[in-house]
Amino acid sequence: MDSTDTELEDIEVELLVRALQRRHGYDFGQYSPASLKRRIQQLAHTQGDGTISRLIERVLHEPGFLQVVLEGLSVPVSEMFRDPPVFRALREQVLPVLASYPQINIWQAGCAHGQEVYSLAILLEEEGLYERTQIYATDFNESALRQAQEGIYPAKEAQLWSRNYLEAGGRHTLADYYSARYELIKLDQRLRRNVIFANHNLVADEVFCEAQLVVCRNVLIYFSDALQDRTLALFRHSLVRGGFLCLGTRESLDFAPSAKDFTPVDAGLRIYRLGGRSAVRG
């Protein structure tokens, strides 16, 4: 590939993004370009006979192909209790505050295959708060949402997740919450009783609910500065005063003006509270 070929590819990426937007209303124009391009190249490989132009054609003309593209561009990669210290902090520092609310609403945005949803449900169950909690689990990847509802995962993940669970301060063993069959584990469906799974696009849709806690980890890393900021503003509107926001442990708020509305509870673990220090006392 010489330099004209690589520029050509940049043009194709741009045109695909435009096609998705004009034809289907999905706007990836504000995603971080480097990783978006990588995923588009992979899609071209698996779905476009190797060219992005072929993807564009299919996006424009083939009913049903949009879903394939959305699934290819979304990254539903997750773990239960990923970054155990974060879940420990939620358990030890955040839930005790939430306990003072008669009804607790949690919005988990970008829930992928639901691993973190079940992790949160287990935390709440063990802290005796789940009966009065509603978890809203959203994603824009319809097939990921369906899998999230089923709660079925490869059994080979169980070992890592069990370790994570214990490191996060789990009171039992993770195996108490799933049944294993063949190569799969299935999470106890009772954990789902207070979860509402819903399709929500952070780029286009409005505030989803009023929440005391928003968990949105490793989603904003895919967004440009402007879209990250806009999404933080969405979370700000969704949160009650003093409500908590939990982001991925390597996300940076240094380029988002909206970050000024959030005060770190544990900056290293990316747990914040809405409002200045004085506003969140007590």
């Binding site: 010489d2 971080s32 990783s35 990588r38 890393i221 940076s252 240094d254």
Partner: protein, 189 residues
């Protein structure tokens, strides 16, 4: 030819010792950003950065999301994330699936850096026991950047540099001890 703006370095098994050797020999006046992807298998590269800093002629820090790659600094890919460069030379992270069983993957860093720096990039691939980095290095060459590969016979684990030579070839293939001095020559005006 204009001087490179950045150097990307990839390694795996035996990588810590190899990096220590290379970074110790660098000229502290290097104006380029150095960006490292090493499969450490640990969940936190903080300690890895500290160990490198003991030997490095230049300051070492974990690459921070959205922050620019800075000249004269060694940036290290965080554990558990792919590290990418945007065209404005700022860092992005992703948790896309592993590549060559690795996250961070050298291929992901190299390919994105190749797009961001084009011919003003040096890619260095050293010891390792898989084939990560080979296609990334090919991408660097395609964009006109310079490819440096550790001589497999000199590497603690030869398969990674060998895979790179097979797929991408190299502008320079040499033992570890000579990589630092070569980088100084390539990078300093």
């Amino acid at each position: 030819m204009p001087a490179p703006q950045a150097v990307v370095l990839g390694c795996s098994a035996g990588g810590l010792a190899a990096l220590e050797t290379v970074l110790a020999q660098l000229d502290p006046a290097l104006p380029q950003a150095l960006i490292v992807c090493c499969h450490t298998g640990s969940s936190d590269v903080g300690l890895f950065c500290e160990l490198l800093a003991l030997h490095s002629a230049l300051p070492v820090a974990e690459a921070a999301e959205r922050h620019p790659a800075r000249g004269g600094v060694v940036h290290v890919a965080p554990s558990g994330y792919h590290l990418l460069l945007e065209t404005d030379h700022r860092f992005s992270l992703s948790i896309d699936p592993k590549v060559c069983y690795s996250r961070p993957a050298i291929d992901v860093l190299f390919a994105s850096a190749a797009a961001a720096y084009r011919e003003r990039l040096v890619g260095v691939l050293m010891t390792g026991a898989n084939h990560d980095g080979a296609s990334g290095l090919a991408e660097i060459r395609r964009r006109g950047g310079i490819a440096v590969v550790q001589d497999p016979q000199d590497a603690e684990a030869p398969s990674m540099p060998q895979a790179a030579l097979d797929l991408a070839g190299a502008d320079h293939c040499l033992p570890l001890q000579q990589i630092g001095p070569l980088l100084n020559r390539l990078c300093l005006p």
